[in-house]
């Protein structure tokens, strides 16, 4: 008679362990996944074997969507917000846009810039929920004669003068090369020669030189 009682107890203990595991996984999952950053520009990035992570501070991200529209965003950090404000004030002054301090503050709060310079005033009056690639035409960079990215990168470089700046380019798979080239031209004209491109990680194909190199360096580390 004592044996069946022990068996019953053991099943109850099993349940609690299972519960623990489930909640452990749940809490771990909640803690590790970051809330998705306001991604108003949907972009399918290409894959590459690059394995360095994208910096999330002191970075300016240029998004190039599938229609070839260009959007500019500054990383969301207290320090970066100040820089973004500086950038906008600079742009406002050098292009005589006539933005009021309130409009600049509104633009700083918005997740990205996505209009030609002349329409920046209109963008400042949009609600944050209205800011998406559907509503905004993007910064003109399609042709070389009216490449406003040059102006934006100039302002960015000036705002980050003396501190570290990472330029990040996030392009869509099907974006055409000429727009990308115009962005490169904007970088070059402002003497920003180093930048990063966002990709999804892919595995190194077996048997290639990089694969062998990685194996050798791992062996050396051991």
């Amino acid at each position: 008679m004592s044996r069946p009682k022990i068996a019953r107890k053991s099943t109850i203990v099993d349940m609690t362990a299972m519960c623990d595991v489930a909640f452990l996984i749940l809490s771990f999952f909640i803690l590790t996944t970051k809330p998705k950053p306001s991604e108003a520009v949907p972009i399918q990035t290409p894959k590459s074997v690059a394995n360095k992570t994208v910096p999330d501070k002191n970075a300016i991200m240029i998004s190039l969507n599938n229609e070839g529209h260009v959007y500019l965003s500054v990383s969301d950090d207290a320090e970066d917000r100040d820089k973004k404000k500086g950038m906008l004030e600079d742009i406002n002054k050098s292009n005589n846009l006539g933005l009021t301090p309130d409009e600049i503050a509104a633009l700083v709060k918005q997740p990205f810039i996505g209009t030609p310079l002349a329409q920046l005033k209109q963008q400042a009056h949009l609600q944050i929920s209205q800011i998406s690639s559907k509503n905004l035409p993007g910064i003109p960079a399609q042709d070389t004669t009216n490449n406003q990215m040059i102006e934006w990168i100039r302002a960015a470089a000036a705002a980050y003068e003396g501190s570290h700046l990472d330029l990040i380019l996030k392009g869509d798979n099907v974006a055409k090369y000429p727009v990308f080239k115009n962005i490169l031209t904007a970088f070059k004209k402002n003497e920003q020669f180093k930048f990063q491109m966002v990709t999804n990680q892919a595995n190194v194909p077996q048997g290639t030189d990089l694969y062998k190199q990685n194996i050798n360096s791992k062996a050396a580390a051991l």
Binding site: I25, T33, V49, P55, A175, P178, V198, D209
Partner: protein
């Protein structure tokens, strides 16, 4: 657990019957818990891999460098890769011959073999020149840069396409050729 299956049809009607029902109910409870566990694990695995984008670093050359300071490419070690539309890849070794006989068409699957072959042949002289045309996509460009890092090509350059090369690409792709460029 194995004890559960031993349900003997006994003479006792009350005793064993009650025990059976209790044991069965605990067993049923376990399955959704396991399901939930696995569901969470799969979900967690999927979301974490997606939310970790990586960055590919690229340095641009300074256009203001005087021509005499620039490095000259040895023709024996040069491989020029051209990117066209619909993921087409073209390449030639050394200089493009006037009749275009060394202009070859390939694709992203086979270009790696070509790079490896050229790398073994040219050794330290290898320089890959990448020329995307106006109809190539950003993905093509990243893919070819990726090939450079996969095959550990130390020296490569991105150069604007010349009208002659663009015409060859258009001809090979079967498009009408515009003479004015």
């Amino acid at each position: 657990m194995a004890e559960m299956d031993t349900s003997g049809g006994g003479g006792h009607k009350k005793g064993p019957g009650v025990k059976k029902a209790k044991k069965l109910s605990t067993r049923v409870d376990l399955t959704p818990m396991v399901d939930l566990g696995f569901l969470l694990i799969t979900f967690f695995v999927f979301t974490t891999t997606i939310s970790q984008p990586t960055a590919m670093h690229l340095g641009l050359p300074d256009d203001k460098v005087k021509p005499e300071d620039q490095n000259k490419i040895k023709q024996s070690g040069a491989l020029t890769i051209l990117l066209g539309k619909d993921n087409n890849v073209f390449y030639y070794e050394g200089e493009l011959l006037p009749d275009g006989s060394n202009f070859k068409a390939t694709n992203f699957k086979n270009i790696r073999d070509e790079i490896i072959r050229k790398k073994q042949q040219a050794d330290t002289n290898l320089v890959v020149v990448i020329k995307p045309n106006d109809e190539s996509t950003y993905k093509n460009f990243i893919d070819i840069l990726d090939e450079m890092s996969i095959n550990v090509v130390k020296r490569y350059a991105v150069v604007d396409i010349s009208p002659v090369e663009d015409r060859y690409i258009r001809q090979t792709q079967g498009e009408p050729v515009e003479e004015t460029k």
